[in-house]
Symmetry: C2
């Protein structure tokens, strides 16, 4: 019952018109990647999302996954769609050509991930975990592991998982109990129980490659005693074909609020054969390769769900006739006016739009720096780009998933009672979006990462590639009154940053108490910067052929500055209130 | 898997310690209602909610309602619980003694509704609609109708419904197509289709009494052509026993995001025998009796769900060991510290607490004025009280249901991944809370009611019983620095009120554009006023026996003033941005 149209024009606006400076010179390897080629890839991806993935989204939610006799079955149509996904080369879009991938940049992969997530988030989780597994093995695995595992992952014949969480520990992985005992042949016997393993078992691929955090015998307690092991579901023979079953079984699947078509498994490892990935006791380090890319991907999911919620809400607001415009009928021949005439409905839709388009600009902007961090010929540029990505990864993850929940909830609200009915599909977006604020590190953990790790790193060095260009931009546009709200919000962010830096150093609870509000303030300002730039780009073109399109960019920016960015004032006040109010609250009195 | 403990001490704090002035003199009829008697009733109600209703909450959600051969079945255990509810006299708590009710005041009924909603919202909808039906028939029905229908509703032998919505109209009831044709005996033949009818059919009572909005033959178009009809499921014979089936059938039940154990029915009326309730073409007027009380009840539901989410989140935060306190281990002998040591977890819990306790104070405060409006011996006091209730009804409905969604979502967040798992029960609260923002008039409609009807009514008269006492309170406490945030927020509310009054008069879109943000600002200030008073009450007692309890009130008030009330600044800025940004946005460009 829902619709989805790949937002190709909006994506191209960001890639080709907004990020002109960032993407001015092609990075090594991108020389042949013309805007036309990018457009063609996006169009093809968009069609696949519209025609293959989206039609399975609601039925997938209704059917969910099932576990029978230790076998997880995905909903009807998922096997066929997955086959098409793999054959189309979509799984390996960002993977190296030498591993069977398409070697396309992160910007492009980000845009495709947005569309896939919008069309069918639950489905998208399967290939998304494969690429995470691919990246971790590629970055940390031995040549033998790479030789054996990378290509099947990229080609989609096998899939991957991240096995971190255990019943008694999620955030606090230092408590992991899964054990690894060395065997004579250099491999390990892995034993333990993992829960919440996305794509932990399913019927889409001929093998599943688990990356498992476990503790080697004799290794120290805590996170620094953890190593990463590759544990295939089926043992892989010398010639690379899956053979005997390994000692890992799916002992249960979770019934969840949403993403019901994505299997979430409890896995029991019993003397499973595993191979070390990377150095012993450096498991967290290796896992972070996977987690950072996963965190960006989760932010993009929030964007995708916001986009599809917006599209449906607008369609409904055009078609549903209810009430009359406050200043007189706009549709006098009909029994009522469309919802879209009502100011409060417009408020909701413009909020959805401003946050969604802003989130698209933000994710693609960060992706463009991820490309530079990986491939820019100049080391200083690589470092500065890497700094910016490291700084903004928790912001993209937490801020955009928070917005994903807000925007999808507004989508339900525009539908009124019909939004609460499952058949109409709007409430599924809310349920699916809700996990984004939780998995890959809760948004509270992201906020702690921002204030506790990223701000103080290298005496604030990570802030520079964000603060300096923004300050320069504001200075260059000092006469533009429309930017006053951004300048104000940026001032608050700067003061809050200084305050946290100073107070947090002396008392870590001060940083902790400020963290979540600070992260949102950061996100609002970053998005505001990109809205300012989008409006500027549009202003130059608003008198041309696509006047309506560019006018909407300018007007959405205005709405963002007038109605949404002022949230920065409340956040600033909350941050500056300090930690005492919450930390002195009596433990027993809660 | 969830817990629930009736918050009796907190309810008594509001009734007996906060609302001292409002409840200083017993209203006529309440002379024998001592605090001890109130406490006894609340304790008994609390036990019923804990022991009978709460255990059926999750199973009810899992099973939902089913429709087989036109018969709706409620989940297992609902029939027995309903029988106990009726036998205990709980349905008729606020109903007149002469109708078989207990004649207890709205304050008490509000507290009981909170507990019932917390324990099992879906279940609570059945009796709640019966009382709404009772109130409408009592206020507008003929003596014959009252004689026949009131007592069975109060005793719970029969239940009631509100049949307003049709497939093509929800908010805009002017488009109702259901028709009523007069019969020779003075009754009507009612024909039409209604949807989204809560408790429209079920297996809990021997009869169901539908109140149906329909248009008499020849009546004018629009809302002013609608009349209200009482249509029983089974025709009632002279001796008051249900007999033949009437022409109303349940043609479908909705599958919803939440409140799955509450049946939501499509009803087909075909020449159903109905009797006019009240004057012809005054159906909306009669229906509003039911809707105003229902709107307050929906706000209370948001409070109840917030309370149970808070209780579970705190219990989890105490018991779940994860990570270490930032300033060193608090539980050094355990493998980790409880979640409750972390600032960001405290931020979430205190937000939940401040909003929930604030919402309880707000609902009971309004209920105390509803009692006065109905029964105060002095006409001027009745009028002023009625004005205050009319003003705050949309605020209670919309603000507190918005908070219900925010607080239940925070509850999920405190649980992390475990919050997303259905078995743990936290996500059900989110799904159940979501409907509160939609039904009984969406929260956008509530906001329009506030700015479009309540503010301008009688040249602003409704504002007086709110603005004057608050201004006086602030003046009397002018030296108290802790109240500065409240004074600031109140100033914003006053300025925004003046601005909307002025601009909205000239351009209704200005009022419409400001409405939702204004309603929230209003709610924040009203809640702030009550937090100020709660802190003052607690301050006087904090050195006594219950020091911990009173200290927590003071500290929660502080958190509210420091961290939540500053939202008023962002809301004020959004309001003052005006309507142009959203109204000038091109219709086609959405």
């Amino acid at each position: 019952m829902t619709i989805y149209q790949a937002p190709l024009r909006d994506i191209r606006f960001v890639l080709d018109e907004l990020l002109v400076e960032e993407r001015a010179e092609p990075l090594p390897g991108d020389e042949e990647l013309t805007p036309d080629l990018v457009a063609a890839v996006l169009e093809e991806a968009g069609r696949f999302c519209e025609e293959v993935l989206h039609p399975l989204n609601q039925s997938g939610d209704e059917q969910g996954c099932t576990l029978d006799n230790g076998v997880v079955r995905t909903p009807e149509g998922f096997q066929d769609a997955y086959r098409q996904l793999a054959e189309g080369g979509w799984i390996g879009l960002p993977a190296d050509a030498e591993d069977g991938g398409q070697g396309l940049p992160n910007t492009l992969a980000t845009a495709v991930t947005e569309m896939e997530s919008a069309a069918n988030l639950a489905f998208t989780m399967y290939p998304s975990l494969s690429i995470g597994t691919y990246e971790a093995v590629r970055a940390h695995g031995s040549d033998a592991l790479k030789q054996r595992y990378l290509r099947p992952l990229v080609e989609g014949r096998w899939s991957g998982t991240m096995c971190l969480t255990e019943p008694h520990c999620g955030t606090d992985l230092g408590m992991v109990r899964t054990k690894a005992v060395a065997r004579d042949d250099g491999s390990y016997r892995v034993t333990g129980n993992k829960i919440f393993i996305s794509a932990g078992d399913h019927d889409l691929t001929e093998n599943i490659i688990h990356l498992v955090l476990a503790r080697r015998k004799g290794a120290p307690d805590g996170v620094h005693g953890l190593s990463l092991f590759l544990v295939p579901k089926f043992l892989v023979s010398e010639d690379g074909t899956p053979g005997d079953r390994n000692g890992v079984t799916c002992t249960g699947i979770e019934h969840k609020m949403g993403i019901k078509a994505a299997s979430t498994c409890a896995l029991a490892f019993e003397d499973a054969r595993g191979e070390l990935v990377g150095e012993p006791e450096r498991g967290m380090h290796a896992m972070f390769t996977m987690m950072n890319s996963a965190r960006l991907a989760v932010g993009i999911q929030g964007l995708g769900l916001g986009e599809i919620a917006y599209q449906n809400a607008v369609a409904y607001a055009r078609e549903r006739l209810q009430g009359r415009a406050l200043k007189g009928a706009r549709n006098p021949d009909g029994p009522a006016d469309p919802l879209l005439v009502h100011p409060d409905v417009r408020r909701m839709l413009l909020t959805m739009r401003a946050f969604t388009e802003g989130a698209r600009a933000l994710t693609l902007w960060v992706a463009s720096y991820l490309d530079k961090a990986q491939r820019h010929p100049d080391a200083a540029q690589r470092q500065a780009s890497d700094d910016l990505v490291a700084l903004l990864t928790p912001v993209v993850k937490a801020f955009i998933t928070d917005l994903g929940s807000e925007v999808t909830n507004l989508g339900v609200q525009v539908y009124g009672g019909h939004g609460y009915i499952r058949d109409n599909g709007m409430e599924q977006f809310v349920r699916d979006a809700r996990i984004g604020q939780i998995y890959e590190g809760t948004n509270g953990i992201q906020a702690m990462d921002l204030v506790g790790r990223k701000l103080p790193a290298h005496v604030g060095r990570l802030l520079r590639p964000f603060f300096h260009p923004l300050a320069a931009y504001l200075e260059a546009h000092a006469g533009d009154a429309a930017l006053a709200p951004l300048a104000k919000a940026f001032g608050r962010l700067q003061r809050a940053t200084g305050w946290i830096g100073q107070r947090g150093l002396a008392d870590p609870d001060e940083a902790g108490a400020a963290a979540s509000d600070y992260l949102r303030l950061f996100g609002l300002v970053a998005m505001g910067y990109l809205w300012a730039r989008m409006a500027e780009v549009a202003q130059a073109k608003v008198k041309g052929d696509e006047g309506l399109f560019y006018r909407a960019k300018i007007d959405t920016a205005r709405f963002y500055f007038e109605r949404l960015l002022p949230q920065s004032s409340a956040l600033y006040a909350a941050i500056m209130a300090g930690s005492d109010g919450m930390m002195s609250f009596n433990y027993e009195a809660f």
